[in-house]
């Protein structure tokens, strides 16, 4: 039994290079709920 299980999450450091295209939906009353 592993003591630590790490979920698959987006590499935010890498997204400095491959992010920022701006094609995602505007978020609003949040950012975390957006799909890239």
């Amino acid at each position: 039994m592993k003591r630590i299980v790490t979920l698959n999450t987006r590499d935010l450091e890498k997204s400095k290079l491959n992010g920022g295209c701006g094609e995602c939906q505007t978020s609003c009353s949040g950012v975390a709920n957006q799909k890239c």
Partner: protein, 460 residues
């Protein structure tokens, strides 16, 4: 920066900066909590007194934590403070407009931030000519962006339905040549929904936002007609017809969007009522109003609200396991295909890539600033003319707020809502602390649901 919490049998560790999420046992949970404050021998001594383990077990666990740190998945240093290249990504590009097609309303909701739809001004409807120019302005200002968004908003936008239909037809006529794709959203109180509206909305609107507060007595407390009668029985059957017809339309979403106040801090009962009515895409938001109002949320309400959010998460998990899932928008977090770091730092884009247009063509940073003349940024004919104000919004981000520096949730909220911050503190770079508390609880619940879903699917 690491955030740890326990909920419903799960020990969850979130590395704020990398976004990594770990599910751990009690030993690893304790090792991680001590890791930055104690040396290895102190950790070992503490854990040997707590658990029946041999030293080798603890050594292995400490080594695992060190390996995750080396991989940048635990205790990652913050390297995301924005430089000029961050702002360059958005400079001068507008990709979304909120069209205020009607500054008037057929309801008289006491808690409405838009002052019964008129935004503290005169009753007004947007003409087709103003709307058409707004769409042209959006295309002209959108640079290389392909996906453009237009919200039909009010007031009550269906009080100007003919113009809405003409504007959609106009947008469809230009999108191919312009190399753009328009996504339309309609926010409505439901009073004017009929077969024509349902057919149109389910064909053209990518999303419809339907205002319903939950239980009849809760909804009717605030959402009254101009004659003072509750609107629940008038709108619920219309929403049900629209949603039933919409279920056959692929890729078309809706959500029931309610508001809760100090008067219904047991808001989970309102969620259950929405489910009982047959709705399964839900959103229920805390009222934001004058703190002196009798329905304003109070500090004493917070523990009750936290418990409601937790019980909501457990209900979602239970219904998912029963094959009767529903969505609650604040819990729809996407860990593997979620937003990039630019989005997480810069936030919603109000005042920069997202603007609101009034019926007379004035531009504001977002729908919540409309009516406050200090926030006019230009108009649809001359474009943005108040560059100083737009620059202030462009640089308003989670790193421009000292209060956010050590917050574990900062890359999930991007510093929060500028309008809420302004209303609470008088400064768009301020922080609406009450909203922060609720936001953090919602993120914990959202991550818990993702953890449970992931681990359950792996054991099947």
């Amino acid at each position: 920066m690491v955030h740890q919490f326990k909920f419903a049998g799960y020990n969850i560790v979130l590395d704020s900066i990398s976004g990594s999420v770990h599910v751990v046992d009690d030993v690893a949970y304790d090792v991680i909590s001590m890791f930055e404050k104690c040396d290895d021998s102190e950790i070992k001594r503490a854990l040997l007194s707590r658990y029946e383990l041999d030293e080798r077990d603890i050594d292995e666990c400490i080594e695992d934590v060190k390996a995750l740190k080396a991989e940048g998945k635990l205790f990652k240093e913050d390297s995301f403070k924005p430089d000029e290249s961050f702002f360059e990504k958005r400079r001068g590009v507008i990709k979304a407009l909120c069209l205020h097609v009607a500054h008037t309303c057929n309801l008289n909701c006491e808690y409405c931030f838009a002052a019964q739809g008129k935004y503290h001004g005169e009753r007004a409807l947007m003409s087709f000519e103003v709307g058409k120019r707004a769409l042209d302005f959006l295309v002209e200002s959108s640079g290389s962006r392909r996906n453009l968004e237009v919200d039909f908003f009010g007031g009550e936008p269906l009080m100007n339905f003919d113009v809405v239909k003409k504007l959609v037809a106009y947008a469809r006529s230009i999108e191919k040549d312009a190399g753009k794709r328009f996504r339309f959203i309609l926010t409505t109180n439901g009073m004017l929904i009929d077969d024509d509206v349902i057919d149109f909305a389910n064909r053209e609107m990518d999303n419809v936002v339907l205002s319903l507060d939950g239980r009849r007595e809760v909804h009717d407390r605030f959402r009254k007609t101009l004659g003072g009668v509750g609107s629940y029985d008038l709108v619920v059957p219309k929403f049900q017809r629209l949603v039933k017809a919409r279920s056959a339309c692929e890729g078309k979403t809706y959500y029931i969007r309610g508001t809760y106040t100090h008067k219904n801090t047991d808001f989970l009962e309102d969620i259950k009522q929405m489910l009982a009515l047959g709705f399964d895409e839900l959103s229920l938001e805390p009222v934001v109003c004058d703190p002196k109002s009798e329905y304003a949320l109070t500090k004493e309400d917070l523990p009750i609200l936290f418990e409601q959010y937790e019980r909501l998460a457990l209900l979602m998990k239970e219904r998912r396991e029963q094959g009767k899932p529903f969505t609650f928008y604040h819990y729809m977090i996407d860990l593997s295909h979620g937003p990039c770091i630019y989005k997480r730092v810069l936030g919603c884009g109000s005042g920069t890539e997202y603007l609101a247009v009034t019926p007379t063509g004035e531009l504001y940073p977002c729908h919540q600033f409309v009516g406050n003349k200090d926030f006019v940024v230009g108009d649809i004919w001359q474009g943005v003319t108040n560059h100083e104000l737009v620059s202030r919004f462009a640089r308003c981000n989670v790193y421009s707020k000292p209060e956010c520096e050590n917050c574990w949730a900062k890359l999930y909220c991007a510093g929060g809502c500028a309008a809420n911050a302004f209303n609470a503190t008088g400064d768009i770079n301020g922080v609406y602390e009450y909203g922060c508390e609720l936001f953090k609880k919602r993120i914990e619940c959202a991550i818990f649901l993702k953890v449970a879903e992931t681990l359950e699917s792996e054991t099947k």
